[in-house]
């Protein structure tokens, strides 16, 4: 991957592994992407697809046990392998993060203004008074009414949506050039979600910061992002401009994901869920991670993991051997049609994925076996 001018963040072949007692969890495998100034990148995926872990790696927030490979370059600084001291200079100053839960990301025993000015003073040598003024200014920017009065209040005096705005205010107080938002609106109601997303976009317009928004809600991505990146089983399976990916998905997983969301156009039709469950990151299939659930999968899909190949204009890429068989909306949805009732889902596949998982045996069977064993060696 070559770095071009204007690229703010370049992630190249990032891998994150967690060694555990049961084996190595390969949470992120070979993820590469770039982010330009003022761009909004949406990262979508189900739980366990590695979307949060890759963003934590960018922030240098992973626990020490994590083994990180590949490269993350922020402007000209390599983040992988950077010491805590140098990371602290970046974190909160150039790169800021917004977490999912506004209840737990604020300290309940300090006023909101105190917490905001602390964040400012961590990176600027200014007096407390100046920092407080800056805090009030940040609260005003995120649309909190009466910011001077609200700054002196504690987090519990704010509602959920207001608290999330405070967290956003804290993220932008040092004018970061990159904001990573990890499920910023998942804990909020739809009307409040609309307000918070609008605030984020307005801040992008005013400060021209790049935003990486991680979510499982395809609707949020459709409304906010310029580019989208779909993750599955720890790696990117499709990425491209929002319109291209939503209109002409070239990866069966994306097709399945879009088909399983109720949509006004689908009224009166059956939803088309994806069969089975996401793979265990400890024991991934040798070929394409999606192959076990994929209606298009053939023997060649099980041989080796496909490469991320360009499939269209303006950087649309897909990790699928059969991408050219996908295209039209309706035919793609028909792919996933399958018998729902009567088609027995097999929980045994779960235990296959994880051999350590205890399997329950029938008591009668065990008794029989014990009786046999006792009979054979008295």
């Amino acid at each position: 991957m070559t770095t071009t001018a204007g690229d703010l963040l370049t992630v190249d072949n990032l891998t994150v592994e967690f060694p555990t007692d049961d084996g190595v969890v390969r949470a992120v495998r070979g993820v590469s992407f770039t982010l330009r100034q003022g761009e909004v990148l949406g990262v979508v995926g189900e739980s366990g697809s590695g979307k949060s872990v890759s963003s934590m790696a960018v922030m240098g927030l992973l626990p020490r046990s994590a083994r990180i490979g590949g490269s993350i370059r922020f402007r000209d600084t390599e983040i992988v392998g950077l010491g805590q001291r140098q990371l602290e200079k970046l974190r909160g100053n150039d790169i800021a993060m917004i977490f999912q839960d506004p209840m737990t990301s604020l300290n309940p025993v300090y006023t909101v203004g105190w917490q905001l000015s602390e964040a400012y003073r961590a990176h600027h040598r200014v007096s407390k008074k100046v920092a407080w003024a800056k805090a009030v200014e940040a609260l005003e920017l995120v649309g909190i009414p009466q910011p001077d009065r609200r700054a002196a209040q504690f987090p519990h005096e704010f509602s959920g949506g207001m608290r999330q705005r405070v967290v956003i205010a804290m993220a932008i107080i040092n004018d970061p050039t990159l904001i990573i938002a990890d499920e910023p609106t998942t804990a909020l109601d739809v009307t409040v979600q609309a307000q918070v997303l609008e605030t984020l976009l307005r801040i992008r317009d005013e400060t021209s910061a790049a935003i990486m928004i991680i979510t499982h809600d395809l609707g949020v991505v459709a409304g906010m992002a310029d580019r989208v990146q779909v993750m599955y089983g720890g790696t990117v399976v499709e990425s491209g401009q929002v319109d291209a990916v939503f209109e002409q998905p070239r990866m069966p997983y994306t097709v399945g994901l879009l088909g399983s969301i109720p949509h006004p156009d689908l009224l009166g039709k059956r939803l088309t869920p994806i069969k089975g469950a996401p793979p265990s990151l400890m024991n991934l299939p040798p070929g394409c991670a999606f192959a076990p659930r994929c209606p298009l999968a053939g023997p060649e899909c099980d041989e080796a993991e496909p490469e991320l190949v360009p499939v269209g204009v303006s950087g649309h890429t897909s990790r699928c051997l059969k991408w050219d068989e996908l295209g039209g909306d309706d035919d793609s949805r028909e792919l996933f049609e399958h018998d729902e009732i009567g088609a027995v889902e097999n929980p045994a596949s779960l235990t296959q994925a994880d051999p350590e998982l205890a399997v329950v045996e029938d008591v009668a069977e065990v008794e029989q076996r014990m009786a046999r064993e006792e009979g054979s060696n008295p």
Partner: protein
């Protein structure tokens, strides 16, 4: 099953006849005491979580109940099942009044009304096998059946919800989220109920798994002529599954009507704002659409605004809204019920 389209049609649902509704709720109120501080907490006030709501539900029909968190939609579901005893009002199931009955009297009715909970991880006992989970209601209500018949029924139920009966001796942790929710549904269906209260049944599941459970619910409804009270905050799923939809705000129904009336020709400003705020997975529609962004937050239900409860966030609010509470009555051209002094269909794209 490839035979029939299982989605609700706009015409009357399959089981709807002209007779009496299965469930009639009128002026249902549930309030909880607010306790003060101190060693001996005294009741210092009441929160009306549900503040007088009325609706009917027929056999084979799905009523979607939508609203933001704290609007009282889950409490409504539980008050109907008498899990929370209603403060006042009436809940009639097949003509029988449920409010004020003793636990013993309610037992026979409970058979016909079951609930599926939101979190499939918390609603199944981790130390019970799937078999015992699904078996328990049968053992209580059909103690005369005998082991063989009960076991056959359990196997049937597991198959009905798309699980392999051979896996009945496994424990809940061995199943994925979607499969666990199916176990919860099998348990609720064990006594062949007529009404299922579905309290956010898919919101804890991953997107790709949600669709499977939604399809299952639709198919079961067709087969068994079940009535659903579908409580959810996800507007697109509610739109997909419901015949009729009730929108709640701060303990009151602000608008109720058929799916097309509510989603296509909403007259209450709150419904319009709610619908316009829900993001669609379609970049083009997202860019074109006019979003109504409400200011402020939901007021506290301890101290609701006078008159119309929505007036503090409403862009149409006038003096009358503060003094007179709008009744839920037929307004607008198609005559579905809406509680607003200034009902108006918003002219817009979709």
């Amino acid at each position: 099953m490839t035979t029939a389209k299982t989605s609700p049609s706009d015409a009357a649902p399959a089981g709807a006849d002209t007779g009496q509704p299965l469930l009639q709720v009128s002026d249902l109120v549930k309030s909880f005491p607010v306790r003060g501080k101190g060693i001996i907490p005294r009741t210092v006030g009441q929160v009306q979580a549900v503040a007088g709501i009325s609706f009917d539900l027929r056999a084979g029909e799905t009523l979607g109940l939508v609203g933001e968190s704290g609007c009282g939609k889950s409490t409504t579901g539980r008050a109907i099942l008498q899990l929370h005893r209603p403060t006042s009002g009436s809940v009639r199931f097949e003509g029988r009044e449920l409010v004020g009955r003793t636990a013993r009297q309610l037992r026979s009715v409970r058979r016909d009304m079951q609930i599926v909970f939101q979190d499939p991880y918390a609603s199944l006992n981790p130390r019970w096998t799937v078999n015992s989970v699904v078996r328990e209601p049968l053992e209580i209500h059909h103690s005369s059946w005998g082991d063989k018949r009960i076991q056959a029924k359990v196997n049937n139920l597991l198959e009905l919800v798309g699980l392999n009966p051979e896996h009945r001796n496994r424990f809940p942790h061995e199943f994925s989220g979607g499969q666990r929710q199916r176990i919860g549904i099998a348990r609720a269906l064990a006594l062949e109920p007529k009404l299922l209260v579905l309290d956010e049944p898919v919101s804890a599941l991953d997107v790709s798994v949600q669709a499977g459970v939604v399809n299952l619910l639709e198919e079961l409804q067709q087969r068994l002529n079940l009535a659903y009270l579908f409580v959810a905050h996800d507007l697109s799923i509610v739109r997909h599954i419901s015949h009729r939809i009730a929108v709640m705000y701060l303990g009151k129904i602000v608008e109720i009507g058929t799916r097309d009336e509510v989603y296509g020709r909403a007259t209450h400003p709150y419904t319009q704002a709610l619908l316009s705020a829900a993001p669609l997975p379609d970049p083009k529609a997202e860019r074109e659409r006019q979003r109504i962004v409400l200011t402020g937050d939901v007021p506290s239900p301890v101290n609701p605004p006078s008159g119309c409860r929505f007036r503090t966030r409403c862009w149409k609010a006038q003096d009358i809204c503060a003094t007179e509470e709008p009744k839920l009555e037929a307004r607008g051209e198609d005559g579905h019920l809406s509680a607003c002094h200034f009902p108006e269909v918003r002219s817009r794209e979709s």
